[in-house]
């Protein structure tokens, strides 16, 4: 027997919302999904009228869905935003070529201007605001932007005992103090990954799906597996974990590292160089391991554009992924 949509009570339900368990028809699901993102944007005051908002387009599912929803909402609610797709050419062959093709197809579909910039160009460029949906590292969840990623990061920081990041990782936007630095926002913060996929599936959105080439660290891997299990027991767990992260309170007097900024891009970073910049530098120098693990000592050399010693290079060169 067909199930009726629990919202309009007219049409036939086509899906069960992973987030609430309700059975919805296609249109009611689209509406709910988009409205929820609208609520997130409005309640957090993410954008101002007239701003240029660049959507970091990687061709992955998060950025593809976000680009689509942003365009819909910008028109529906007259945000008055100048939207554009931004793709960073990182010069990684293979992986990047396919995803770039997807971004180009997206651009035609959404009729949004596409700007492909090199890494240097990006940070020399002035913008009012930027939606860094997937960070600089392609369709990789290093930067945690949908609800699953945020919840996973909360759990990972508990496992690592990283109280400073535990408190910060649920922040919806990061406005850094540095001049010309770019705030990064998470309009998909409360959107379940499964619902993002459902949305893309029913909207027939074309995205480039791939496993991230950077293997996550052991703790993130465990946190991810744990979250998946939690979700299977109680689907609201993802949001419940985020709620915990948002409401926990750290004692006064617990040493919190002073928040520094990356000296290259101005993004918040506890080290001289942020993770993105180190990772990118590693790729440019053909030393992929530079972006993985602790290499804080080398930041000075990277900043000064000095060559590394033979021994340092040897350590970083071994590619095992």
């Amino acid at each position: 027997m067909p199930v009726q949509c629990s919202n309009c009570v007219q049409r036939r339900a086509v899906l069960k919302r992973p987030k609430t368990g309700h059975s919805l028809c296609k249109d009611c699901f689209f509406w709910a999904f988009e409205e929820e993102i609208h609520q997130t944007i409005v309640s957090a005051g993410l954008f101002n009228r007239g701003e240029t908002v660049a959507i970091g387009a990687s061709g992955g599912k998060d950025s593809t869905v976000l680009a689509h929803v942003m365009k819909v909402l910008n028109e529906r609610y007259d945000y008055g935003l100048n939207l554009l797709l931004l793709s960073v050419d990182e010069g990684i062959t293979g992986y990047r070529d396919d995803s770039l093709e997807t971004v180009k197809r997206n651009q035609q579909q959404y009729e949004l201007p596409l700007k492909i910039v090199s890494y240097e160009e990006l940070y020399g460029w002035t913008m009012d605001a930027i939606v860094k949906q997937v960070g600089l590292k392609n369709n990789c969840t290093f930067c945690g932007h949908n609800a699953d990623d945020v919840a996973e990061t909360v759990l990972m920081n508990v496992l690592r005992g990283d109280i400073a990041r535990l408190r910060r990782c649920t922040a919806i936007s990061t406005a850094s103090e540095g001049e010309g630095a770019i705030p990064r926002c998470k309009p998909l913060k409360y959107a379940y990954e499964k619902e993002i996929v459902l949305y893309a599936y029913f909207k027939k959105l074309d995205y480039f799906s791939t496993e991230c080439i950077y293997s996550p660290n052991a703790y993130r891997g465990h946190a991810r597996a744990f979250l998946k299990d939690l979700e299977s027991i109680r689907p609201s767990s993802i949001i419940d974990v985020i709620h915990s992260g948002e409401t926990l309170s750290v004692k006064d007097g617990v040493k919190m590292p002073v928040q520094g900024t990356c000296s290259r891009c101005g993004y918040i970073s506890s080290q001289a160089l942020c993770k993105s910049c180190v990772l990118l530098e590693g790729l440019n120098r053909g030393l992929p391991k530079l972006g993985i693990g602790k290499h804080h000592r080398l930041h000075g050399k990277i900043l000064a554009q000095e060559p590394l010693t033979e021994q340092e290079e040897k350590l970083l060169k071994a590619v095992d992924f």
Partner: protein, 492 residues
Amino acid sequence: MCQVEEDYNGLECKQEKIPVPTLSRKCMKCKEGTAVLIIRVSDAFCRSCFKEYFIHKFRAMLGKNRVIFPQEKVLLAVSGGAASCSMLAQVQEGLSRDAPKRLRFMPGIIYIDDGGACGRSSEERQRSVDQLKSIFTETGFPYFIVPLEQVFSLPTSVLVPGTSDPDPSNPSYKQAVDQYIKEKQNLTEEEAASAVAQLRIEESVCSPEHKLALERLFSSLNTLTAKEDMLHTLRQHLILHVARENGYSKVMMGDSCSRLAVKLLSNIALGRGAALASDTGFSDPRYGDVVIVRPMRDYSSKEIAAYSRMFHVPSVFISGLDTKTHDKASIQRLTESFVTNLQADFPSTVSTIYRTSEKLHTVMPSQGQTTEPASKCLLCLCALDTNVDKASAFHATLVSEQLSQIKLQDTSHDARHCAEGQGCGSGGCCSSNRSPEHQDLKTLLCYSCRLTVKDMGAVDALPPYIITEAEKRQKRSRMKMEISEFLLEDED
């Protein structure tokens, strides 16, 4: 922001694995005895040094925190498990006359028999109770054996926080100690001993109606996660009630650091972030007049098991709600097996998670709210964590619920969250197709207790004291709404 520094790459952590003890290893402390136990990477103890280390740790924990006053009545919550039985043994040890720096408080024991919620037969329950009784009698301390069914005769006052100075760093601690020492000089040893000997043994029996009511309550909870949470809540209420009735101002819980690590992580998964400090810290001031303390929090379950085995600490195995269930039967159960497995690969897991609990802070309601019971969760008595910013996970879930189901005209409005208008558009963010009772109750609960009640079929299966107190609070909040325009200060 989630700029992740992926510092831990697995390889480093493997090195922390506990080395296999070599046969001839010497005790790290006395350098003479043969090591029988390795606590951490390099701490190998002989039998007698281990005993000393274990005992010292208990006193050090109490000494450091200085919350238990001389002559204070302290109720020890004993479940029969190794951790709480070790706690009991440590208190006995600390009170024994030859102990240097002996403990000076007045202990009592409480055991909550939750067999009725866990489907145990009367015979099984009686057998466990008999075993525990013989352990309790041996200590000479007064004890209370309370069946969980007693929640059906609790008064509503249990749900109202008491008034007392919740500040654990109370400056009068020293005065109290001095006062005690002065008094003690006038007190003969004999008199002191007879004071302890005035035993109070209370064993309540439960009526068949209450037995059925408890069964009904637990079968109305649809998930094991919610059952475990409800059981915990009701246990706490009973312990609190017995403590208050009998003048105990402290309750000691036997949570080990392994247990607390699991609790911290599972409470995060249950949405209890705001209450983490109370739920896992050394002292928990949520009830006001009765303070929960956790003196076993520095011991790992491994240490406790070793000590119990070596020094024959009696304990009783009593099956619980999640005994013999699979790993994914509940969030609490899943977290336990997750932490245990991770601990096997990364031996610092438990201590890392546990240390997090020390850095957390209890969110207390702001001045003026502390006396108002409405600012606390009806069930767990923690400060309500639902009075949050619009840009929050809590509001996002309300929006999702609202957008996913047909709008009902709901008269019972959640004044706290909808007063500001937005987000409560046409149908009201409180609209729901559930029974109105669910809806009314929800507004009185914290985020996490709402989840538990959401997993419940019939709210009227809850014990009367909860339902009566809920009605009372709802009436008050309706009253307040009616007269809101005449109130000069918004104390809510």
